[in-house]
Symmetry: C2
Subunit: 480 residues, 2 copies
């Protein structure tokens, strides 16, 4: 327990796996590429879910549940969709002691089965827009896996909507990208860049894909959530038509959007340090941990009385608090343990503090004395804890923004591009290249277009690669 | 929309399916035996989840997530377990474009994979008790399916715990049965009978199984949740041992317990009537629906103003309220629609009510004038709505208790037994028969031992079937 982790500077990838193990976020499952989400990791995911679910409901979406098993023939109906997903499918061929007539696909995503149902539910313009979300597990058989980032089964939500017009579908796709951005920035303290995917990076079956891209501590990009304008591709494959107000039968326009347990990996790699996790207060399963300190048996009772009092006060104020009364571990051991688990605020209570009717606060994001304050009066403990948590949340975001902005470099030549990518930074470039040229760059440098940011300069200039006039700016980076 | 349903008295089974369709709770999936849970049905399940999850956390359990796919060799490790589940398994044989070396079982329940992980996590007595719950989907390939009651995929929670002693495991199994009973009675208004399963009805792999049995409107029993004392069966199959305080390696003692979307079927069949669903207020997705009524265009604005005011007042009071402002449907059509959906309280607001600064309340569980009250003052609307919802919740429970108690008959002879079972009632009998005799009775009458109720008379008497002295009373009934 609480062994130290590999320093990030030494081996970022091992640091990541060490933190997951030592903070007890997840474990490997017995089947290759699968993951067990342990209680602490799952509690973090529950907080992610709660904050997203609230936003989905506020924007008019309803939850539903569709079957895990999809007839193989459904997956084949949309041609680019099957081309994209077929290498990753898991197939059920036997059930109930018999071989099935048609193999069943374990859902890798649910466009096909949901749109099959939509074709039955949608009759007229009165049934539109249809705004559905599903929380579920999906399976994509991946060769190279890593906990939270890429596992053969993962948990996610997938939104699926149908609209009367192309404009409404586009608005919805952009609206949900905004919901993801708002969640990432204001809950996870991850300053994602919202943007549009390039043609070769878009979802299999979409007309246009949007993404939020986050910069991890090693400079790599993490695609953290995507929102797709599906046009009429699935509507045509599944015959989803409605009677419009002029009494004509028309195909609907659709979107889908998803965010997964991958977000947990993003939180680890955005905020963590060499002592372990650092969790944003708004999502932390434990926002404040109280560590009682005493030496002599006589001190114990008075200290624990104050601990109980502070715990009750913080709980009543709506703070997720825990006191660590374990008597087998030293206070120092506990400090390390809760730092590893990334608890934003530590409250120390010893005999001297009790005598002064005060406690000590220590914040996880600032190590040592700088992050510590003595003599917080007992009477102010709830109010001050709220202030500290708000301040820590803001500080994490500010630090991540500073890191991101220091590592996005405006690049105007292929030489500079190679340098920037080689030093694990992101290159912001004017781009007018072809799909083929984009693939070439990936082969040469490992970098891909993460997105065309929604926030564009508005002027044009020469493409860094082709020299042609380019109206858009793209972000290139290596990615997870 | 809002077609009438088959009367219960005419065909109970068709009534059930009609209500599910007309209230838009669920739909059939494209793969035989699968179900789509539609938004209204899923919202009901979300409320079930929330109330159970709160209780699990209050009793010290933590949520986690384990993989969907279980190596086939795991399922075989516990002999009675594989014997019970093997006819129902779905197998993944191909993934990522290749045939797998070992087929993977799509979890029918997770004892095997969870206990494989427990064997790694549990080292010493300090790791005990380990109290884990999982919310997930499971697959059991059933031949005869029915929405919510028996589907080849369903949603549930499964608790899995490990303890140092046999006594603690038994206490936990009984405690969680108590949690289920408390939930069923106080949230779902279903007066379940908690008891012990007979030897032949217990879970495949358990030493002892407990159940909550509910009486449906047609007199059949519905097993609505189960809690199992697993003894050391899985501990021995998966080598889950810990160092006890005497430094000896000992096997743990375990429980598992589950409740599923079947509960939604139980709610439908306990409370519904020929007009559709009746939902207990504590679980209803919509607790109160406001129906505005006006004839002339001039009345509309004043009515809708009061509707908005009442809606805001109820929302602020924490009531789940909806107003139906649809202008294409008549008020009468809306009454039918919301009755079909089982909304406990209807609030009607028309021009005359507005003039009197009052509204009309109508309760779903009492049809016609008897359930209607005019002139509820606007100023009291939130307080009175709370009172009505509390009263409706209590009335539903009282009615279900009366129905249950009127249909459990003390039976002392095989002749009386056949009569009682033939008239769709439950037979309460003294029982000292063998497993073989229990099977005989099932073959002859269709009735099985639903449980030995925890609440026993405490005296002994002659077994109704064998005449031998019996120390226990059992409930026999036909079941879903």
């Amino acid at each position: 327990m609480a062994e130290s982790v590999t320093p990030r500077s030494q081996d970022y990838s091992r640091w990541y796996l060490d933190v997951i193990r030592e903070a007890a976020l997840a474990d490997y499952g017995p089947v290759k590429g699968t993951m067990v989400i342990r209680p602490y990791g799952y509690a973090l995911w529950e907080n992610v879910k709660e904050q997203l679910d609230r936003r989905f409901k506020e924007t008019g979406h309803e939850n539903a549940y569709f079957p895990l098993f999809i007839p193989y023939s459904f997956i084949e109906k949309e041609k680019t969709h099957i081309a994209g997903f077929s290498p990753e499918l898991a197939l059920v061929t036997h059930a109930g002691g018999k071989e099935l007539e048609e193999p069943l696909v374990v859902r890798p995503t649910s466009e096909t089965i949901i749109n099959h149902m939509f074709s039955q539910w949608i009759q007229s313009w009165r049934d539109l827009p249809l705004l559905i979300n599903q929380w579920c597990n999906v399976v994509r058989w991946e060769l190279r896996t890593r906990p939270f980032l890429r596992t053969s089964e993962f948990l996610w939500q997938e939104g699926h909507t149908a609209h009367a017009t192309a404009e409404e579908a586009e608005e919805e796709a952009v609206r949900m990208l905004g919901v993801y951005t708002d969640f990432a920035v204001n809950e996870a303290a991850i300053p994602v860049v919202p943007g549009r995917k390039s043609n070769i990076e878009k979802f299999a079956g979409a007309d246009r894909s949007y993404t939020i891209e986050a910069m991890m501590g090693d400079g790599k990009a993490l695609q953290s959530g995507t929102s797709h304008n599906l046009g009429q591709n699935f509507a045509k494959a599944f015959e989803i038509r409605y009677l419009n107000e002029s009494n004509e039968r028309a195909y609907v326009w659709q979107t889908s959007w998803g965010l997964s347990t991958r977000m947990v990996g993003g939180i680890i790699m955005t905020h963590g340090d060499d002592k372990g996790l650092i969790l944003p207060p708004r999502l932390a399963p434990v926002q404040a941990v109280i560590v009682p300190i005493w030496n002599k048996e006589g001190e114990k009772e008075t200290v624990l009385q104050v601990v109980a009092q502070v715990e009750a006060t913080l709980k009543a104020a709506g703070i997720r608090v825990k006191s660590d009364r374990n008597e087998q571990n030293t206070a120092g051991w506990k400090f390390n343990e809760w730092e590893m688990k990334g608890v934003p605020l530590r409250i120390e209570i010893g005999p001297k503090d009790v005598a002064k009717q005060a406690v000590v606060f220590a914040r996880r994001d600032r190590p040592g004395k700088e992050g510590k304050e003595f003599g917080i009066p007992l009477a102010e403990v709830a109010e001050r804890a709220q202030e500290w948590l708000t301040e820590i949340q803001a500080a994490l975001l500010a630090r991540a923004i500073a890191f991101r902005d220091a590592n996005i470099i405006d690049v105007t030549s292929p030489e500079q591009f190679r340098e920037v990518v080689a030093s694990s930074q992101w290159a912001r470039v004017r781009w007018a290249g072809t799909d083929e040229q984009e693939r070439q760059i990936k082969e040469e440098t490992g970098a891909t277009i993460r997105c065309f940011p929604l926030d564009q300069p508005g002027s044009s200039g020469p493409c860094f690669y082709t020299g042609q006039e380019a109206s858009e700016v793209a972000l290139f980076a290596k990615a997870y």
